[in-house]
């Protein structure tokens, strides 16, 4: 020990600290267990739920395979088959692939970064409950024959045809919007956590690669999911109220949905793939017994993939008749994205070559996954070439390709992760023998099932057919595929058995059974505090390179070994060099998150069935729950300003503005919100490009009202800036007056914004032009209304003495919200008012 020079605590002092820590971080018992917000519980529930959904979707896949085993089969009716394959894809993508990464991240990240908790534990709990409820709702629909049945990408006009798609499409749209909210919540949590909650000394060049990957993935979620949410809004408006966004007869265009869906859909593939590769990046060094070679290369690959993946979406639309030059741009970007992917694989191989490999089940799954994934990558290069894709598109070749990519690039690495990280859950290892059996069943079964599909596809078999004629030459391929699917399923079953079989007879393992080098292995499964004390990090592989680290952490020789004010605390550090900046108090166990999630779920479910009153009740409840949660859990004024965190260091307990994680949370959320808004505006201009006259002769909102609205919003924003300023100089009453003034201006701005289309009698059901104008105006007005709520909240906080000149986090964050809002409002009303005149 060199840097930890302080005296050792006496045995009694240590015991007292441990007792207090245990008490503060304890998981509630009884039914209250489910109100826990600890990252270990949330992560575990998240993962388990995602796996249950995966098994459910797997069973659907087996039904699909049985139906296709022989030609002209009558095992499933066409209607059930269509629901089964739609739900299979939907569940695997939205309820397994994405959530399982959120699960792993929430479970592992805090300890990997040497933090007690991520900055918004209640948000994580809220995300989990949203996901679980939405998932059950979507999956349950098939038992009522009401599941979505138009394929997981829901192309209109088939999916907007109510006679065909029934309530299934609404279940898809609303259920998944709800889950997307959960994903964005997780993204906010992860970005803020990785940027701001690393252990002191963990500079960005020493972050575990897992954290690098997740940082990129969370950023991608922020820009990929909102376009789909925007698309969902347009879609639901068409289904519920007949606004013709995708109806060609009234000026809409089905292609806009395809754009919005795939702007989400392609990055989604990488959102699924990168976290799984991130697990590999943790496993490979452990089993090669050496640090990774090419750390910077991995960072290059992760960042590069993150960017390039947004330039690929049209490669799902190569057959839609877009100009060849447009297709070629996307083909080029799709080829380019193979470069960073190749780099990642070679980094792993190089690391293994430079080390001495200990071969075990996690490596087996990892290597097997790579072997499968490389095939998927090579076929990916093929389908990204336009002429080849014209043939392969929407055939079983693509089915084979995407399963090679997702199962090799995601399911196998995740299974490797289960075998690798299981000791962190339960201090026991999974069976080596069962693991090997499972691997070979899965590996062989997978290839038997999916390899023939390449050939079936090239021999002309389109995807999504519920049956096929006997004389086209696909019988053998399909029969073999079905056989393989069952072998594969048997392998998965063995993994499940291995995980759930009782292990109390096995002796508990030591901490860090694989002799790994990264911090997550310091956590003790039976303790809930995460880390006993928050260490100073000096290496990428601290357990290997910092002798005595484990003992020092356990002895409480580092930061925050004790409890103060009965609060849950973790450190906030600077972005680049991880210098300690603040001791952050995070929210503890609360039922409010669950209430908020369930009532928000109620909103979405009630909307599906058009129960308007219930929608209103649930919305009010959601609003109340979220307000209660914020009121009691955020921006609390601490009893003292600073806190002694140990090692002779004191940190402030309250910070606001860009130094606070709350500010970051708001910024990140608004980046996502801004992307959704951008997607709506993309729609506006999209309609302009496809029509000679996109107004089709319909009246617009005029110039007066929109420009008035824009000016009012601008003034309201200035009033907010002023409010922040006068609050800084502690002129409380002036600040309150400015808040009220600004709220009135905002209300007037919303009114003026809606008055434009209203007074000009724009009927959104007649043509797409009035419809898109209304959507943009409503979107902006809703954000204005939200701003008024926030202003009222600040006013209430100030009156209740929970906000002051020094403790102004609420106001700071609301002003940040206003920066985004003023851009939105000026753009919206500027475009609505001026564009029809200047085009």
């Amino acid at each position: 020990m060199t840097d930890v020079s302080m005296r050792d605590l006496s045995h009694e002092e240590r015991a007292k600290q441990e007792r207090e820590l245990r008490e503060v971080w304890q998981t509630p018992s009884g039914w209250r267990y489910w109100t826990s917000v600890n990252n270990t519980e949330i992560g575990l529930w998240y993962g388990a739920t995602a796996f249950i959904f995966m098994l459910f979707a797997g069973v659907l896949a087996l039904l699909v395979r049985v139906q296709l085993a022989v030609p002209e089969n009558g095992f499933l009716s066409a209607e059930v088959f269509n629901q089964a394959f739609t739900l299979h894809g939907t569940v695997m993508m939205f309820l397994f692939a994405v959530p399982v990464f959120e699960a792993v991240a929430i479970f592992l990240l805090p300890s990997m970064l040497g933090a007690r908790e991520l900055p918004f534990p209640r948000l994580a709990a809220f995300g989990f409950w949203s996901f679980a409820l939405g998932g059950v709702f979507v999956c349950g629909s098939i038992f009522f024959g009401a599941a979505p049945n138009t394929g997981w990408f829901m192309y209109p006009p088939l999916a907007t045809d109510k006679a065909y798609s029934g309530v299934g499409a609404d279940i898809w749209l609303l259920g998944l919007s709800f889950i997307e909210v959960a994903s964005i919540a997780a993204a906010v949590e992860l970005i803020a956590g990785i940027m701001k909650c690393r252990a002191p000394g963990m500079r960005i060049n020493m972050m575990p690669l897992f954290a690098w990957y997740l940082l990129i993935v969370a950023g991608m979620i922020l820009f990929a999911f909102p376009p789909l949410i925007a698309g969902d809004i347009l879609f639901e408006m068409e289904r519920m109220f007949g606004w013709p966004f995708f109806d060609a007869e009234r000026g809409g265009d089905p292609l806009l949905w395809q754009h919005l869906f795939w702007i989400f859909g392609h990055p989604e593939v990488y959102i699924v793939f990168l976290p799984a590769i991130a697990i590999m990046a943790m496993i490979v060094p452990t089993f090669a017994q050496r640090p990774i070679i090419g750390y910077s290369w991995i960072v290059l690959a992760a960042v590069g993939t993150g960017f390039l993946s947004f330039g690929l979406w049209v490669h799902h639309m190569f057959a839609t008749g877009l100009p060849q030059i447009s297709l070629a741009f996307f083909s080029a970007a799709s080829e380019a994205v193979a470069i960073p992917t190749g780099v990642q694989i070679f980094v792993f191989i190089a690391t293994l070559l430079a080390g001495r490999v200990i071969f075990s089940v996690p490596m087996l799954f990892g290597a097997g996954g790579l072997a499968i994934f490389v095939v998927g990558g090579l076929t990916g290069v093929m389908v990204a070439l336009v002429p080849f894709d014209w043939q392969a598109h929407d055939t079983y070749f693509v089915v084979a390709h995407l399963h090679y990519v997702l199962i090799g690039g995601m399911l196998f690495p995740v299974t490797a992760g289960i075998y690798y990280y299981y000791p962190l859950i339960n201090a026991r290892r999974l069976s080596e023998r069962l693991g090997k059996i499972a691997f070979w069943l899965m590996f062989a079964g997978f290839n038997v099932a999916f390899f023939p599909m390449h050939l079936a596809g090239l021999r002309g078999m389109p995807r999504r057919v519920f049956t096929y004629p006997a004389d086209v030459g696909w019988e053998w391929f399909n029969l073999i595929s079905t056989l393989g699917a069952f072998i594969f399923a048997a392998g998965v079953a063995v993994v499940v058995i291995d995980v759930v079989r009782p292990k109390h007879r096995q002796p508990p393992l030591e901490v860090n059974p694989w002799q790994a080098g990264t911090l997550e292995w310091i956590s003790e499964p039976e303790e809930t505090w995460g880390v006993r004390s928050i260490p100073i990090i000096k290496s990428r592989y601290p357990i290997w390179d910092q002798p005595g680290l484990l003992d020092d952490i356990k002895a409480g020789r580092y930061y925050l070994p004790d409890v103060q004010d009965g609060a849950r605390e973790t450190l906030v550090t600077s972005v680049l060099d991880a210098r300690p900046e603040q001791c952050l108090r995070v929210g503890g166990t609360s039922i409010m998150t669950m209430v908020a999630a369930f009532s928000l779920g109620g909103v979405f479910i009630a909307l599906t069935f058009h129960w308007w009153m219930l929608t209103l009740v649930c919305a009010t409840l959601t609003f109340a729950a979220i307000t209660a949660w914020l009121w009691t859990g955020t921006a609390q004024i601490p009893r003292s300003e600073v806190r002694d965190i140990g090692l002779g260091k004191s940190l402030p307990l309250y910070r606001s503005g860009p130094q606070s994680v709350g500010w970051w949370g708001m910024f990140i959320t608004m980046a996502g919100d801004g992307t959704a808004y951008g997607s709506l505006m993309f729609g506006y201009f999209f309609y302009w490009t496809i029509h000679d006259d996109f107004t089709a002769g319909h009246a617009g909102p005029g110039m007066l009202w929109p420009l008035l609205a824009a000016s009012l919003f601008l003034l309201a924003w200035l009033a907010m800036l002023l409010a922040r300023r006068v609050n800084g100089s502690d002129r409380r009453w002036l600040m309150r007056a400015m808040l009220i003034f600004s709220a009135f201006l905002t209300a007037a701005g919303c009114g003026a914004g809606l008055a434009g289309p209203h007074l000009n009698a724009m009927d959104p059901t007649v043509h797409v032009y009035p419809a898109i104008v209304w959507v943009v105006a409503i979107w902006t007005a809703v954000h204005g209304a939200l701003a008024i709520v926030m202003q009222a909240y600040c006013l209430a906080r100030s009156l209740a003495g929970r906000m002051s000149a020094r403790h102004d986090m609420d106001l700071q964050n609301v002003v940040l919200y206003w920066h985004f809002l003023v851009i939105t409002a000026v753009t919206s009303f500027g475009v609505l008012g001026l564009f029809p005149a200047v085009r």
Partner: protein, 126 residues
Amino acid sequence: MRLIPKEIESLWTLFTAPTIWAVHFLVCYVLVAVYCEKAAAAGFTFAQMRLVLVLITLLALAGIALSAWLAWRQWGFGSGDPPHDAPTQEDRLLFQGFATLLLSGLSFVSVVFVAVPLFFIETCQP
């Protein structure tokens, strides 16, 4: 080049080159998409537009090259080899320089890839 300080204390510099790629990509896509829908009303030809896009490509490549040069300078012109994993601010800066250099390389290649269609496709044909 002392205008831009040698050691930039920001994570954002890492994203310069890929952002240039993204902007270049979007400009190519949007310009072509709008032109091909509105060709009748446009005051210029497809060939002229291609030429403009080639010039924009050169501009983007120059921007990336500049980002690469700055990164190379921050990396000490290759004086130290990776892994840059010492717990010092200096190594953190070297790491940032090296990673930015690599990303500039990838972005450069990607911009070249995206420019390929400009040389082979001569009309708005679907």
